[in-house]
């Protein structure tokens, strides 16, 4: 019997490592090694075809940290995230609440309201050009009829604003979907009982729904923040970073530096600095995920 168990556990050990190993090796080889490589490149000048031509110490970093456009792109990326995420969270959650309490036809609304989430960002960026152009764009026409005239695509604020509006269009469904699943998992008796006790609908929403959904909502918010810091396709397709460099979000700037200007040393340094900055959010995210993963 004992021998049998020993054999079995030995087989089990082989089995579990055999299943796990390929994935671990893949991630180590193709994520952690590249990050180390990026650190190395960030201290060097790299030319395609020639490899590393010289080690330059901290000069890539020093040039970045004293470069106004680097800080500017960080600044507008931060604004981008700080504007879009709160709106997406509020609207997404309220919509989920309305669907949960059973608006007539709510069954059919869910797939429609989540559809933007799976659209291609660069395609929406281009679509945005035709929505916001002052030459017959749909949104600028509607707003113009209401007496609001904004130069969407020829100013920094307008370009960023248009990108944010489309970002909200794409990503509100993400929060909506999370909230819907969370609210749906709460037994409806709880809401019913609360409704009998509470004096108004608003109180149930404020004092029952939000607190119960909050743990998952936190994770949704953090995921949105992390994704927001990755924003690339949408703003790039919409404005190509222009006019000038005024709407170059961080990923757009990093992409242009690395791929268009093939300045791999500087591009790597940008990536490493960005990783350090974003890691604050990542740490929060991990604290929350630790509680949820069992």
């Amino acid at each position: 019997m004992e021998v049998n168990e020993l054999v079995q556990s030995k087989a089990e050990r082989g089995f579990k490592y055999a299943l796990l190993a390929p994935a671990v090796i893949w991630i180590v080889g193709l994520t952690f090694v590249p990050i180390l490589a990026a650190i190395r490149y960030s201290f060097a000048n790299y030319a395609l075809g020639e490899g590393i031509t010289a080690y330059v110490g901290f000069s890539n970093y020093a040039r970045l940290l004293t470069d106004g456009s680097f800080w500017y792109s960080l600044y507008i990326t931060l604004i981008y995230v700080l504007v879009t995420v709160p709106i997406e969270v509020c609207v997404g959650f309220v919509l989920a609440w309305i669907i949960t309490i059973g608006v007539p036809g709510s069954k059919y609304f869910r797939p429609i309201l989540t559809a933007p989430l799976f659209t291609m960002e660069v395609a929406i960026g281009y679509l945005g050009v035709t929505l916001f152009t002052d030459q017959g764009g749909l949104y600028s026409t509607i707003l113009g009829a209401l007496g609001i005239h904004i130069e969407w695509l020829s100013t920094a604020a307008g370009g960023l604003g248009a990108a944010m509006i489309l970002d909200i269009w794409i990503w509100t469904p993400f929060v909506f979907l999370m909230s819907l699943a969370t609210l749906g998992a709460i037994p409806s008796d709880i809401f019913d009982a609360a409704m009998l006790e509470a004096s108004s609908h608003w109180q149930v929403f404020r004092h029952v729904a939000i607190p119960l959904a909050w743990p998952v909502l936190t994770i949704a918010i953090l995921l949105r923040v992390l994704e927001g810091f990755k924003a690339f396709g949408l703003p790039y397709a919409l404005t190509s970073g222009g006019p000038g460099t005024s709407t170059q979000l961080f990923s757009v700037m990093a992409d242009l530096t690395t791929i268009q200007f093939t300045d791999f040393g500087r591009g790597s340094a940008m990536g490493i600095l960005y990783l350090i900055m974003v890691s604050i959010v990542i740490t929060f995210f991990f604290k929350q995920m630790r509680k949820r993963i069992n």
């Binding site: 994935a23 490149y41 309490i101 059973g102 396709g233």
Partner: protein, 285 residues
């Protein structure tokens, strides 16, 4: 869902709720309609004021559709996108699912399986620009710029961790009793994984496959960095149309629809587990 909350709500709050939902539906649907509208306009109509309603305000034409569908480059890109999406999905599931099962069922000596899972997750939340340089250089050195294999390699890397984390969560729902029973009957560990756990997790597997596919289909940063001609996917094609043709927005309208439609239509069929998948298992449901 019981509708007590709805029935007991005041008339005014019902009205407000309905108005909000109607506004939200319009807000979501209008850009889709506008994209379809663009694709049946002539180039000048796209930028003409007051050309909003077809037949009344402009004459719809299928010229852009004919032009785009007759262009071998578009068909090439659609094919590349599909191939890279399907290839990545297959590879990711092949490597990620066994690892997920291993983490769901077994404990490890040095590290708790939970911590290994979080380690995988850390890879997924990192901003991809961090590895843009090293990946580009890696592909350049092994001669895989502008190849399908190169792109599949990159996308598999980005999605592997996602697959491991989410499938682990789904495997943990498969009851241990069923597996124990199979074991009593003499099934091997591999048989339990392949013939019991996997079929019982099929729903989760399909959602995972869908999310991975949608990611590959929509990804623009690496696609535009490492592909240009041969292996160009739809995002590359759309971004490139700016420089080569000074952007013909009516054919861009057709491309937009071709690019948007597949994942959006697929999403209608995989609603279950979607929230769970997108939240890495933080949401149950």
């Amino acid at each position: 869902m019981d509708n007590l909350l709805w029935r007991s709500s005041k008339w005014a709050s019902k009205m407000i709720a309905m108005v909000i939902v109607c506004l939200a539906l319009c807000w979501v649907i209008v850009p889709f309609l506008w994209a379809i509208g663009n694709s049946i306009k002539t180039h000048t109509d796209v930028f003409r004021r007051g050309a909003i309603i077809p037949f009344l305000q402009f004459t719809p034409t299928l010229d852009s559709w004919k032009e785009v569908l007759g262009d071998p480059q578009t068909l090439n890109c659609l094919f590349s996108s599909t191939l890279v999406g399907v290839g990545t999905t297959a590879l990711v599931l092949l490597i990620g699912t066994p690892a997920a099962y291993s983490l769901a069922r077994f404990e490890f000596k040095r590290m708790k399986s939970k911590d290994i899972t979080l380690w995988f997750l850390s890879q997924r939340v990192m901003p991809p620009v961090v590895v843009l340089s090293p990946f580009y250089i890696l592909l350049a050195e092994i001669g895989m710029i502008d190849t399908w294999t190169g792109l599949i390699l990159l996308y598999s890397t980005f999605n592997l961790a996602f697959c491991v984390v989410i499938m682990r969560d789904i495997f943990r729902d498969v009851s241990k009793e069923v597996e124990e029973a199979a074991r009593m009957e003499g099934a091997s560990l591999w048989q339990i994984f392949w013939m019991i756990a996997l079929p019982l997790s099929l729903d989760g597997l399909i959602v995972t496959a869908f999310i991975v596919f949608a990611f590959c289909w929509n990804e623009a940063l690496f696609a535009s960095a490492v592909t240009s001609q041969h292996a160009a996917t739809m995002p590359t094609l759309i971004l490139a149309s700016r420089s080569t043709r000074g952007v013909d927005f009516s054919s861009a309208g057709v491309n937009t629809i071709l690019a948007i439609a597949p994942p959006v239509i697929l999403s209608f069929f995989v609603q279950r587990y979607l929230a769970r998948g997108l939240s890495f298992g933080a949401v149950k449901g």
